[in-house]
Amino acid sequence: MLVMRHELLLVIITVILLLVEIFLPKDQKHKIILPAILLFTIVTILGFLPGITGELFGGMYVSTALTMTMKNILNIGTLIVFIQSVSWLKKEENKEKISEFYLLLLSTLIGMDYMISSGDFMMFYLGLELATIPIATLAAFERYREKSAEAGVKLIFTSALSSGILLYGISMIYGTTGSVYFTDVKAAFEATPLQILAFIFFFAGMAFKIAIVPFHLWIADVYEGAPINVTSYLSVISKGAAVFILMIILYTVFAKIAIIWRDVLYVTSIITMTVGNLFAIRQRNIKRFLAFSSIAQAGFILLGLIGQSQLGMTTVIYFVLIYIFSNLAAFGVAGIIANVTGKETIDDYDGFYRTNPLLSLTMMLALFSLAGIPPVAGFFGKFFLFAAAAQKGFYILVFIAVLNTIISLYYYLLVIKAMFLNTSDQPIGYFRSDNYTRIGLLLCVAGILVIGFASPVYEFILNLSYGLY
């Protein structure tokens, strides 16, 4: 099989969908939904075929078993987003733009795949931009809504700023080492003050993308303003891809200054967890609530990055996989409620269990998984993260993380309490969700329930991480 298989397949289906969109009559645009989902399902399945590893373009593009697994994880998440967004796309005001949603989403995915597989900073930056700019368009997708347009503008400005900072860091790295290739930079790295400054700039740029405190300020407004399906994509796939590439670069290029970036991660991890959690308590809008909860989750991910080891690497990938399923389930339920009733605040969820028990149970599972309560997958993800950090002797950090988990449990339970215990005079009435939403949520629930117990998944990733970096 081809080395660049994931990207080529995505490019092919993007062009096919573009051609279909060109020749479809205006009143039949909705017919693209099923082919798009089927094509992407095929791509996702083909991604799992064993592939050859290797380099292309003189080392600009590197494909390893690990990057392939990362791309497969992103593919699965995007497939769920595809399926979940159908009910929103079928709304009257979006009918003309259905294929654009798929085209833009696929473009960002291509960008992320190239970013993960990059072997030098130029390829990495190209992929990063391709992954960012279409998302700004997607955030402004409902342009008749003022908040959506605002989200798009805010996203493009913050990503422009962060890209600038990132490029500054990259240019310093190039200036001091004379190369942009990861392997050359790694060999020529001497940990001079200028190179450390370059790392700080680079990390700040990436911190914008992952939304690490203190670079998180754009996140709440963008998440609230963007359409809920775009928000779920932004908070899960986008963040996951950025975490993956940050991990690869930290472990390879900046391996020599591990002592320094460990300190940086140590501090930012504590601040990110705490700020995300404390702000999440106060949110009444479900999208803002999930935005801050995702900031807190990013803090936990940093915890895994600190344990610079095979174990740390495995746990981060494993945690992101679980996080994709849990967060997409939560966003899926919030999305279907917002689409059917237009209600987005937590107070509206009072008495939701009485009218829609299945959706409530799905939401409960998702929030339990995010909080890390034992039977579901989220517990195992967090447990391994903490174990990875503890193995390296970061006991205080793990203690703070456990405290933060308890805080997070409080606000996740607030939503569950609203749905199950609170009563309301006007609860959200009973509604039947369409089949696409059901399939999407079913996939998420299956992921949440199965992955935690499926040790083969964990061991598979662990085996991949050995000896690669």
Binding site: L18, E21, I22, P193
Partner: protein
Amino acid sequence: MSAESLILFFIVGAFLVGIAILFSSYIPPKSTNPQKSETYECGIPTEGITWLQFNVGYYLFAIVFLVFDVETVFIFPWARVMKTAGTKGFVEIIIFFFVLGAGLLYAWKKGALKWE
């Protein structure tokens, strides 16, 4: 090398830039008259409000223009090495044309080339 040299670099940098700005504001002789403070780039003074909303058509045309621009950037190096690139290079540039053409066709279909 240590952190001190970096701090020194910042201090010296700020100092030099600050000195340059200070010098250029203090040293030269100053004379102002209405003609001198006019905007000089485009001749006549502007009329009305300049914070106008521009027709979005300009952006669309600029983006469609970019299609041809990128095409030139890629076709020129290819044309230079066409003989050595051989069939493989030819097929690759055809694929590239095809993708770009699909983009142009899309813009055409959506009415981006129509001036309203």
